[in-house]
């Protein structure tokens, strides 16, 4: 808890089996024109689209649509969304989908009235919006990114081979989010497992930084234990409401700024994973999974005390009669075993990456400075090579 910080998270969450009732409560706060943003159409198959449209109509809203948001939303799609929002004169952008759809909705919300090129301004120069922001609401159908209660937005530029996230301030956070765990039941197992690891990675990126012993680390350990417990249940029984609801709630709190308080935070696994995605368009959580073990084994000596603590407090490693290195290493072994058990992808080959992509992925990897070791390009190459 060293240093100064502020905390403010104004997003209102409606959680549970009746959460969608919250949408009817929220809608009167906004004007008539709603831009309904969604992905490839799965919400039409599982009935969520119909439920949402019914509530929008009952609330007297004019509905404009913007569909086809892809898993890694692109700059080109962002430009299309801006045009659609302008044409709709949107008073509210309602994202119905997973993190990609929420991320995209936020990117549109700060770009509609932006005079500069949004990619350059927000994702290259990391500037804050200085224009009118369209309010965003979310109906979450996939768990992982935490986008439902934060200012994060990740956009991919295929021409530049870059996938970059901007964490906007609280003025860009969704005004409200609808979290019904049952809405996530129809997500394929591959996507569910990928989302679970995205959540774990968010927690670890914040946990593995700093040498102080602060409350955020203790909360992070609690979230990790809950996630591992509920993931084990959900893998065997994907419609276990208790497990799915705990995973959904953990995902939200894993990345809504809370457990970053008093921390420097790392984010190198995300930088590596995003570079992989920029070249392969692979599923986000799986890109993180495939680079994680090589990364953590590489930096373990630089943050040994924290990896030792992680092994004991999260993986219940018995420390008796062992060196710190042994305990820390056994913690990572336990993590790797669990990752394989729940079905995560552990090799870049399985994500469509070929060896001749290696140099390009190294080139696309942004270097962060908040973790236990600031990597150079040769270290990034080594970690990525070990991820194949």
């Amino acid at each position: 808890m060293l240093g100064n910080f502020t905390f403010c998270n104004p997003t209102k969450l409606y959680f549970g089996k009746d959460a969608l009732n919250g949408l009817a409560e929220e809608l009167p706060k906004y004007g008539k024109n709603v831009l309904l943003v969604y992905g490839g159409g799965s919400i039409k198959k599982n009935g969520i689209y119909d439920k949402v449209v019914k509530i929008l109509k009952e609330s007297g809203k004019e509905i404009y649509e913007d569909s086809g948001v892809m898993p890694n939303p692109t700059v080109d799609k962002l430009k299309e969304g801006v045009e659609r929002a302008k044409k709709a004169n949107a008073d509210l952008i309602l994202a119905v989908g997973g993190g990609s759809v929420c991320d995209y909705a936020k990117a549109v919300s700060v770009s509609v009235n932006c005079k500069d090129d949004p990619w350059d301004k927000y994702f290259i120069r990391f500037e804050e919006p200085n224009c009118k922001i369209i309010p965003v609401g979310c109906v979450l159908t996939m768990v992982g990114t935490g986008s439902e209660m934060n200012g994060g937005s990740v956009i991919t530029n295929h021409a530049q081979k870059l996938k970059i996230g901007h964490v906007f301030g609280e003025n860009v956070f969704p005004r409200f989010s609808i979290l019904d765990p049952e809405f996530t039941y129809t997500v394929p197992k591959y996507q569910m497992v990928s989302g679970i690891y995205d959540v774990m990675s968010h927690i670890l990126e914040q946990y593995f930084s700093g040498t102080d012993d602060n409350t955020s680390d203790y909360i992070a350990e609690g979230l990790l234990r809950s996630l591992i417990h509920s993931a084990n249940v959900a893998i065997d029984n994907p419609t276990d409401y208790e497990a799915r609801s705990n995973i959904m709630w953990t995902a939200t709190w894993a990345l809504n700024t809370l457990i970053a308080k008093g921390k420097t935070t790392d984010w190198m696994v995300h930088m590596l994973g995003q570079a992989v995605a920029a070249h392969t368009d692979a599923t986000h959580g799986m890109t993180l999974a495939s680079v994680s073990m090589p990364y953590y084994r590489y930096i373990m000596p630089y943050g040994l005390d924290k990896f030792y603590r992680y092994a004991i407090n999260v993986w219940d490693i018995d420390a008796k009669g062992k060196t710190k290195e042994q305990v820390a290493s056994e913690g990572l072994d336990a993590m790797e075993k669990w990752m394989k058990k729940i079905g995560l992808v552990m090799s870049l080959f399985d994500l469509g990456a070929t060896m001749d992509m290696l140099s390009g992925i190294v080139e696309s990897t942004l270097i962060m400075g908040g973790g236990y070791k600031v990597l150079d390009k040769s270290e990034i190459r080594e970690i990525l090579r070990n991820s194949y």
Copy 2:
């Protein structure tokens, strides 16, 4: 995570050694008239009063004062505060103090424009405000109640021998709170320890309920471990910034609605403690401490699984070769040992209670229904008798 719930906590927190700078950032949002609310004058001795007044003046505010808020704010004081706020035509109520001062400020904020008797409306009939609420801001100088980021307000009626809390909705939450851990350094050790136990009790009241295995319980365990760790440091070195800042942050998250999500919650220790306080005017955290062990030992059989888990996950009890009862009981033993070590009051006699008060305290104890056992009056008498 069973059931439906909403989460919304709009309070903006400024945390750290420069947190008071946040006051200057916030003040322009409010009108000219500020009612400055504080307690017995310790803030004049430690310099916080001067710092706050300087910022208020630099921001062009008209300052009206309401001092003398007592540790257990009374109905009579509340009436006085309402008159002062009316006379000041207050645009903002700025509470500078501990939880009592924040609680009191919130009670005034919903009573100024209230047509009914506030005690009857809010604390007897538990109604919600249907009048204009004056915004409240807090500068926290004592840690424990969590009042800085919730809607809680506890008021004492000596004539009726009742101390009752109302948990108001998010419209009554402080708009902002200033949390500088150094502002708590001058708090006497008795008060610091009392505050630490208040925090622990808040967490336990929420933790010891329900049989489900949800994320809130895992977060609660993290907060408990952090609190115990930092309390052990602070007892030996009260000006250890890291420890005091962690305790302050844990206190806020112990009672800002987060770890109650998906839980029924108990609150019987608070009901017992508040009844004691109504008869003795003793320090809040100490009243909780003195009734806790008799209460937990009494209900342990009714929530054995949770007490077993508590022993292992919070107190590191080795479960090998022991019955569930043994493990659970050893967890409570460890807790009791720790309570004595940090200097908590373990007997009602030490809080000024005499045996002839017993029947009156039993009579004043409200009965809650969210824990592992709904007590009857004879069980309450037994627990209280064991607390002497």
